[in-house]
């Protein structure tokens, strides 16, 4: 076997799985002493161009409580045509279709390279994808115009047979009927009145079985297998209509007096959208796409009153319990999110406004349903436009990078139990023998619903080793986990992706080095960070930080090499060496720090942190910094104030922002216009290089990051200065006058101080 690094990478590429530990401590007691729980980051739909789905259905273990899927780890008796389930050891007969199997004629699911395999299910009715636009009309004219154009553009990107619907809202909520010809027709609802799903369906006339159709449409009988869906029509049929309708969309006509916010009924609009889909297309892949340009100001789910003189809640207000509407609004959106999740639909929020739009209250909608959350300043920015366009990007097969209504089921071998999951999912409350009592994240279940997901959606799944200390596992024993993801593919097929993995058990007392070497500090950092962020949603910030610190110190105590009470003797092995640094940056990150962030921003950052894959998550925790100079090719440099040098150009990627920063000298040169002189063409190239690299990142990322081009002394340089390790500040005077980097005006501790403290605490016997 190659190095663990290679092993980890290989596993990630094949299975989309990264474990915190790749050799597992064999007893419950030892496992808890490892501090970092046994857990993994799972990317259920990781793009696998090399993995075409098989066209048949999986073979299931016959034990009703198990139903694990036949996989390469199973023992197979080719002669008897039997296989033994590796989870429950049940012996199963192969189905008749498998009569021809032998050692040389194996089905794909038995081959080791198919530890991840995808099945395509042919049976069952195919249901179309549904896109329901919920559009705020209380926007500025140019914003609305830009949004309308984006929406019109999106019609051409949608799958042609997808159903599309339109709800607009302002003071009122309008559900547009798309089927009618001639006169455009919409159903209008008061924006202040909370309606039950039943009422909404009654009022939209969805409950009646025999709806009087506008006209008989015998032409496409197969396209109308559902309840009347006057509000949801195939794109190819009504794209002209809808384009016109969007074109005629006016700003909310109700007058907004001086000193008032427009009345925006987001809560009712979402409620109606949810109710509409609930009544017409339950358990069908559907996206509710909410486009909003401001906070909800009336009705259920209102976040702030319409008086401009009372500002929207800040973290300060929330701490002081001064956010009047927050609890009620949050409850409203949570109720909607849960209903949506139950129906297998997802809610996206595209919020573009300079002020907050109430993402804090509404976050549960995308969080629980796997929807997107996009935050921008205006719909008239490339950030929104490109991000929105990217939702409809296609993969190598020409399929949309989205999947719906997924159910993730996790099966474990009996030494393990499932503690919980953190990610864009809701619990399906399926109890079973492999569900742990101790919950980490969303627990108490072995199945989760992920209503909307894409190839990068990643869940953190936490396990508990339950094997008792006195029941050792035989040498060479392996623990296994199977992840079964059933989902609706964007081509409307039903698919099942199965990933079965196994890891070696090791006795922590005798083989600690093995376990230590198999530590994946990157995965561990992200998994711990997810736990921390998950806690931060319900606990006070300082408590979470204390908990993180405690865990870090314990980890160092456990795996560090040191002499007691001698900080200078402290060493960490390679596989742990980066971990404290990750924790240092995590502590400073907007995921745990709310200072300088609005509640909406915090919700936004946390939303993305809880769903991105490992690489992106790491960038979020510890942004990447590249340096460009005449001294050589671009190189990654330390995220440290010492990297900020006058003759360098820096490119920082924090996931949410791309910052290009020109050092003092470079900035002066540019000002002087050297780049335009033919003899300084190399300078021109130097200036261009980070721009090109930034473009590359911008092109690939979802959501599109904020792009910041700044220079020494520029106001936007704060984005860089707030991220770098403040190794030089106005406090440590020895750095003054030296030409190494830029001092940061902060009282935050630097990494060095942090490490010093960590070492001291780790070696102390008192803690």
């Amino acid at each position: 076997m190659a190095t663990y690094l290679e092993f980890i990478q290989q596993n990630e590429e094949r299975d989309g799985v990264r474990f915190s530990w790749n050799v597992w401590p064999s007893s419950r007691l030892e496992a808890t002493r490892m501090v970092v729980p046994l857990a993994c980051l799972l990317t259920p739909l990781k793009e696998r161009p090399d993995l075409p789905p098989v066209q048949y259905e999986p073979v299931l273990c016959s034990r009703p409580t198990c139903k694990a899927i036949l996989n390469p780890l199973c023992q197979v008796d080719y002669r008897a045509k039997l296989w033994a389930c590796n989870f429950c050891f049940q012996r199963n007969q192969f189905p008749p279709a498998y009569t021809g199997i032998s050692e040389v004629n194996q089905p794909a699911e038995l081959m080791p390279q198919f530890s991840t395999i995808e099945y395509m299910i042919q049976r069952g009715a195919r249901s179309p994808l549904i896109f329901l636009y919920v559009v705020d009309t209380c926007l500025e004219e140019d914003d609305l115009q830009a949004l309308k154009e984006s929406l019109q553009m999106s019609l051409s990107l949608l799958p042609p047979d997808a159903l599309v619907g339109l709800i607009t809202f302002g003071r009122m909520v309008q559900v547009h009927e798309l089927s009618c010809e001639g006169i455009s027709k919409s159903y209008v609802f008061r924006g202040t009145k909370d309606l039950t799903a039943k009422q909404i369906q009654d009022m939209l006339g969805l409950t009646k079985s025999a709806m009087p159709m506008q006209q008989a449409r015998p032409a496409q009988p197969q396209e109308q297998p559902f309840v009347s869906s006057r509000f949801l029509q195939p794109v190819h049929k009504i794209d002209m209509n809808l384009t016109d309708l969007l074109g005629e969309l006016q700003r909310d006509p109700w007058p907004v007096t001086q000193g008032k916010r427009p009345l925006r009924s987001t809560g009712v609009a979402l409620s109606i959208a949810v109710g509409l889909l609930e009544g017409t297309f339950p358990n069908t892949g559907a996206r509710i796409m909410l486009f909003t340009g401001g906070p909800p100001t009336q009705g259920p789910g209102m976040v702030v009153g319409d008086e401009l003189k009372t500002p929207i809640r800040s973290w300060h207000d929330i701490e002081k319990d001064n956010a009047r509407f927050m609890k009620k609004a949050t409850k409203h959106y949570e109720m909607l999110a849960n209903r949506t999740a139950t129906n297998g639909h997802c809610i996206d929020i595209y919020a573009c406004a300079l002020d907050q739009t109430g993402l804090l209250e509404m976050k549960c909608c995308p969080n629980l349903t796997g929807g997107h959350m996009v935050m921008g300043d205006s719909f008239n920015t490339s950030l929104f436009k490109q991000t929105f366009q990217r939702i409809f990007s296609k993969d190598f097969n020409g399929d949309f990078r989205m999947a719906f209504g997924a159910t993730l089921e996790v099966k474990t071998s009996r030494e393990l139990k499932i503690a919980g999951a953190i990610g864009p999912c809701v619990s399906l409350n399926v109890k079973g023998p492999c569900v742990s009592e101790n919950e980490l994240g969303v627990g108490g279940t072995s199945q989760w619903k992920i209503c909307g997901l894409d190839p990068t959606s990643t869940l953190g799944i936490y396990f508990e080793v339950v094997n008792q200390h006195n029941a050792p596992i035989p040498q060479g024993g392996r623990g296994a986990i199977q992840f079964v993801t059933q989902y609706q593919h964007s081509s409307t097929q039903k698919r099942i992706r199965v990933t079965t993995i196994a890891r070696n058990w090791a006795d922590a007392q005798s083989q600690l080095r093995h376990i230590e070497a198999a530590f994946d500090q990157e995965a561990a950092a992200v998994l711990m960070a997810r736990l921390g962020v998950f806690r931060a949603e319900s606990e006070e910030g300082p408590d979470v930080l204390r908990w993180l610190d405690r865990q870090l110190i314990r980890l160092c105590q456990k795996f560090g090499q040191y002499n007691k009470e001698d900080p200078t003797s402290f060493r960490l092995s390679d596989s742990f060496s980066l971990y404290p640094q990750f924790m240092f940056h995590l502590r400073r990150s907007p995921f745990l720090q709310v200072f300088n962030n609005s509640p909406d921003e915090s919700s936004y950052y946390r939303h993305h942190f809880a769903r991105q894959d490992l690489t992106q998550s790491l960038i979020m925790i510890q942004p990447i910094l590249y340096s460009y100079s005449f001294h050589g090719p671009p190189e990654p440099v330390l995220l440290d104030s010492s990297s900020i040098l006058a003759d360098r150009i820096l490119l920082m990627d924090t996931f949410f922002q791309i910052v290009i920063y020109l050092g003092e000298t470079i900035a002066q040169w540019r000002k002087a216009g050297y780049q335009d002189m033919p003899e300084y063409e190399n300078f021109k190239h130097l200036l261009q290089a980070p721009l090109d690299d930034a473009q590359e990142i911008l092109q690939a990322r979802f959501p599109m990051p904020r792009y910041i081009n700044t220079e020494h002394g520029g106001s936007q340089a704060r984005f860089l200065l707030s991220k770098v390790n403040p190794s030089q500040t106005h406090n440590n005077l020895y750095a003054w006058g030296q030409e190494t980097g830029a001092p940061i005006l902060t009282d935050d501790v630097s990494l060095q101080v942090f490490m010093d403290h960590l070492k001291k605490l780790a070696v102390s016997s008192a803690s």
Partner: protein, 904 residues
């Protein structure tokens, strides 16, 4: 008459057993204009009593249904027993009435054997004669309103009315400044000085005010006074507006209010010197100093929220439920709207109408339409939340017709198709009004809703109604429920409508019971109009409806009106009847008031009145014009006062009295059993006449029936009122029809009630082809018809063309263009345009009758001795009613008996 008096402790005199039969005779020389005296003979022996029970067996009757059972007759008409007692004295009356119809018993069809023993109908006062007399003496002349206490010509008399100041008067007399009787008509033009006198006479003191009455083009329209920012000059204490009655003193620096006697400073801008008789030098230059009626431009203080009002809006709300689509009504309305919208009313000097229009269709949900001018297609917005209706759009709902014409036409074209496949039968109603009201409220403008509705609103929503057409309630104390709305929703809705100056006009097309009492309440209280077309057939009845619609849209109207009636000291306005809403006891609020709506005001003494000062009335209406201007319309009237009862009786106006009696009685039906109301009416009639007999008439035998000249026709009119289907419960008349008529009368002016209660009956067969005038009317009695004749009867709602079985064939040919009586198609609702002179003449007559009437009358062709004649005969109001109700003669006898009792 106080309406409250309907409630308590009235012992109806008519309940008393008939007094001993006296051999009294009516005698005494009649001296016009002295009271007319009937002089029946006493020598005729009593008839056998058996013959007087039940209606006389005329040959005509034999063809009809059997007469109603006697038990039912008791509740409705006058007990036959009374006739038994009085018949004998009346029988064989001499033809002693001076203006009697020169017809003899020979004209009566199939005279029953008892006839000669009955009072001769021609000997009793004839309304036709009274009308003709007044026409002869005052018709076609100029009537100047410059004399206080002057009784104007009858409403039926055409003359030119001049409201003008007369030059040769002294300052102390209020000889100018009286409104035209077209605006105000009083029950009496001379008030008794004391309340004791008033109680003695029991003559109602009331004024019927029609503030927006249409004025013929040859009369001067109202002058508009503009005092700029300072606004109208008003008395500081009672707030009366400057008018000709105000007395300027101290060289013109002060004036004394004629209403409250407060002395006010004349505002500097208004100062003017007085002349030698103490009159302002500019007296004749200022309408408010010399005329009875004029208008002021109102300042912002008179506007809501001190903001100038927005021009009003009309919202058309069409019931598009299944039946309306199926019978083509929706299509008819939509087509018609395209035309009438071009004729929206506008201010005289304006090019186009300022009125904005909006459209709503509904069944059990509401559809609003965005018809903004920049749209290529109208947009439909459905509001399904009928429990709490709201307006889904502001911009684009109410639009200028000219600007949005193409979108509106597009919409009107599409509406019938849009709902062509709808099979929704249920409708809502209250939410529809609510929606229109909310729309006007949101647009901050006054307005009028035109609702085209046809069914009982049974869908689940506020104001949902159920069928309560219960015949068992008739003639019980619970009968009044039928006139009351089913739920309180409509009353509070009406209140909101008035508060937001939203007037509701309702066009009803019922094919069965729709509960007019509930549906009509909002139109009534908001100054709107209720039109009802029973079993509407598009092919036959369209014209009537379309005429009404056109007329209603175009008619003169004021919005957001508040009326205040001020009086001089000594009396005050105590009660108001009409299409009004009152939050307190003085302010009459009207969401809108049009030229056909009248408010009847009752006055009561609260002190003594002086003969010198007279009784002054000032009616001020603050309103918004169709162009969105705020104005004040002032009508002034001064009446005489007298300590002599005779003066009072001399100045009475019977048409106005009947208007008052009808409205107060129709208001009372909500609270009182009909029987009690009828008894009160009879009693009061008897009382008024008895008082006259006792105090004013020259001494004569007690048994003589003496009527004051001004009240000659009071009994016949009163009898018509008593026989009206509202006050007479019969299972044959649907509660909807009764509620409808009740509602119509509540807002009628004097001329309308006159025609409604005593229809006009014109002989057509005797037309002089050369004459262009109207033929002389005949009395509404079957005895005036003849088999060889054709008669036209009109009551303001319907027009009947009655054809005798032996109508002259050439006349039939001339009018109907068919060879014979049998060929005439009675289904027709308008006469064919035959070029012949009789046809032209008849149609001209019909047009004349229809002219300026608030409701388009439906023409019904009635052939003698056919089923339909039953309906027609209800309108022969001098006869005994088919469904009960006594004949004029019987009623006169009854009243006479009452009077005799009172005098004893």
């Amino acid at each position: 008459m106080q309406i409250n008096s309907y409630g308590v402790g009235v012992t109806p005199q008519s309940q008393a057993p008939p007094g001993p039969q006296s051999a009294g005779s009516f005698q005494g020389p009649p001296q016009p204009p002295q009271p007319s005296i009937l002089q029946p003979g006493s020598q005729v022996p009593p008839p056998p009593p058996t013959a007087l029970n039940g209606p006389g067996p005329t040959p005509l009757n034999a063809q009809y249904q059997p007469p109603p059972p006697a038990g039912q007759t008791l509740g409705a008409g006058y007990p036959p027993q009374q006739a038994t007692s009085y018949g004998p004295q009346m029988g064989g009356a001499q033809l002693s009435y001076p203006g009697g119809f020169p017809g003899g018993p020979a004209q009566m069809a199939g005279p029953p054997p008892q006839l000669q023993r009955k009072l001769d109908p021609d000997s009793i006062p004839s309304p036709i004669q009274v009308i003709e007399n007044d026409r002869a003496t005052r018709g076609g002349q100029v009537y100047t309103t410059n004399t206080r206490g002057q009784v104007p010509p009858l409403v039926t008399t055409d003359c030119m009315i001049q409201d003008q100041a007369i030059l040769h008067i002294t300052a102390n007399e209020t000889k100018s400044g009286h409104s035209s009787p077209r605006y105000i008509r009083c029950t009496t033009y001379c008030f008794p000085c004391t309340s004791d006198m008033a109680k003695q006479a029991q003559i109602p003191l009331a004024a019927v005010i029609k503030p927006f009455a249409d004025i013929p083009s040859n009369e001067t329209p109202l002058y508009l006074v503009n005092h700029g920012e300072s606004g109208p000059v008003r008395c500081n204490r009672c707030k009366a507006y400057m008018c000709p009655f105000m007395q300027f003193i101290e060289g013109g620096r002060r004036y004394q209010c004629a209403f409250c006697n407060c002395v006010n400073e004349v505002p500097p801008f208004y100062f003017q010197h007085l002349d030698h008789i103490g009159r302002r030098v500019d007296h004749y230059e200022k309408p408010e100093l010399s005329l009875g009626s004029y208008e002021y431009v109102a300042t912002l203080d008179y506007c809501r929220k001190n903001k100038p009002p927005n021009p009003p809006a009309f919202i058309f709300m069409i019931d598009v439920s299944y039946s309306n689509i199926k019978n083509g009504l929706v299509k008819l309305i939509c087509e018609e709207l395209k035309t009438v919208l071009q004729r929206l009313p506008k201010e005289e000097h304006e090019e186009t109408s300022a009125i904005r229009v909006g459209f709503i269709t509904y069944n059990k949900v509401l559809h609003f339409f965005n018809v903004k001018s920049n749209l290529a297609q109208p947009q439909m917005m459905v509001v399904t939340d009928v429990s709490e209706v709201f307006v889904p759009l502001l911009d684009g709902f109410l639009v200028n017709y000219q600007e949005s014409q193409s979108v509106i036409h597009n919409l009107l074209d599409q509406i019938p198709e849009m709902f062509a496949d709808s099979n929704e039968n249920e409708t809502v109603f209250a939410p529809v009004i609510q929606a229109g009201m909310e729309a006007l409220k949101a647009a901050e403008c006054p307005g009028k809703l035109f609702i085209f509705h046809s069914s009982l609103p049974t869908a689940e929503a506020p104001g949902k109604l159920k069928n309560r057409d219960d015949k068992k309630l008739l003639n019980t104390d619970k009968e009044k429920i039928l006139f009351q709305p089913q739920t309180a929703v409509y009353e509070s809705l009406a209140k909101d409508c008035v508060a937001n100056s939203c007037s509701v006009t309702l066009f009803l097309f019922p094919s069965q019971y729709v509960d007019v009492a509930s549906l009509g309440l909002v139109p009534l209280l908001t100054g709107g109009t209720l039109y009802k077309y029973n079993v509407f057939r598009v092919n036959l009845d369209s014209q009537q409806f379309l005429n009404d619609l056109r007329n209603d849209i175009e008619k003169k109207i004021g919005f957001d009106a508040i009326m205040r009636v001020r009086t001089s000291t000594g009396f005050r306005a105590t009660d108001f009847f009409g299409g009004i809403f009152m939050n307190n006891t003085t302010d009459v609020e009207m969401a809108a008031i049009d030229c056909d709506k009248a408010v009847t005001v009752e006055f009561k003494h609260d002190d003594k009145l002086s003969e010198d000062a007279g009784a002054l009335i000032q009616c001020a209406v603050l309103y918004t014009t169709i162009g969105g201007q705020r104005r004040l319309r002032i009508h002034n009237l001064a009446l005489n006062c007298s300590t002599q009862l005779a003066d009072l009786y001399k100045s009475c106006e019977t048409d106005a009295l009947i208007n008052f009696f009808a409205k107060s009685a129709f208001k009372a039906v909500l609270n009182q059993p009909l029987k009690v109301i009828r008894e009160i009416l009879v009693n009061q009639t008897a009382h008024m006449l008895a008082c006259y007999r006792k105090h004013c008439a020259s001494p004569s035998a007690a048994s003589q029936l003496i009527l004051p000249d001004s009240m000659k026709v009071l009994p016949v009119y009163m009898n018509c009122l008593l026989k009206n289907s509202v006050l007479l419960s019969r299972p044959e008349i649907s509660p909807d029809e009764r509620a409808y008529q009740r509602q119509l009368v509540m807002t009628m002016g004097v001329a309308d009630t006159q025609l409604f209660f005593y229809p006009q009956l014109l002989p057509i067969h005797t037309l002089d082809v050369k004459s262009t005038g109207m033929p002389a009317a005949v009395r509404c009695s079957e005895s005036r018809l003849s088999e060889e004749g054709m008669f036209l009867l009109a009551n303001g709602l319907n027009m009947f063309l009655w054809l005798g079985v032996s109508s002259p064939p050439d006349l039939i040919q001339g009018i109907f263009n068919v060879p014979s009586f049998a060929h005439i198609n009675t289904d027709m609702t308008s006469l064919p345009e035959v070029g012949s002179p009789p046809s032209q003449q008849l149609r001209m007559i019909m047009n004349n009758i229809q002219h300026k009437k608030p409701y388009s009358m439906k023409l019904i062709i009635v052939k003698q001795r056919e089923q339909r004649e039953m309906v027609f005969r209800q309108f022969l109001v001098e006869d005994k009613g088919l469904y009960g109700g006594s004949s004029y003669v019987d009623f006169l006898c009854c009243v006479h008996k009452e009077i005799c009792q009172l005098l004893n």
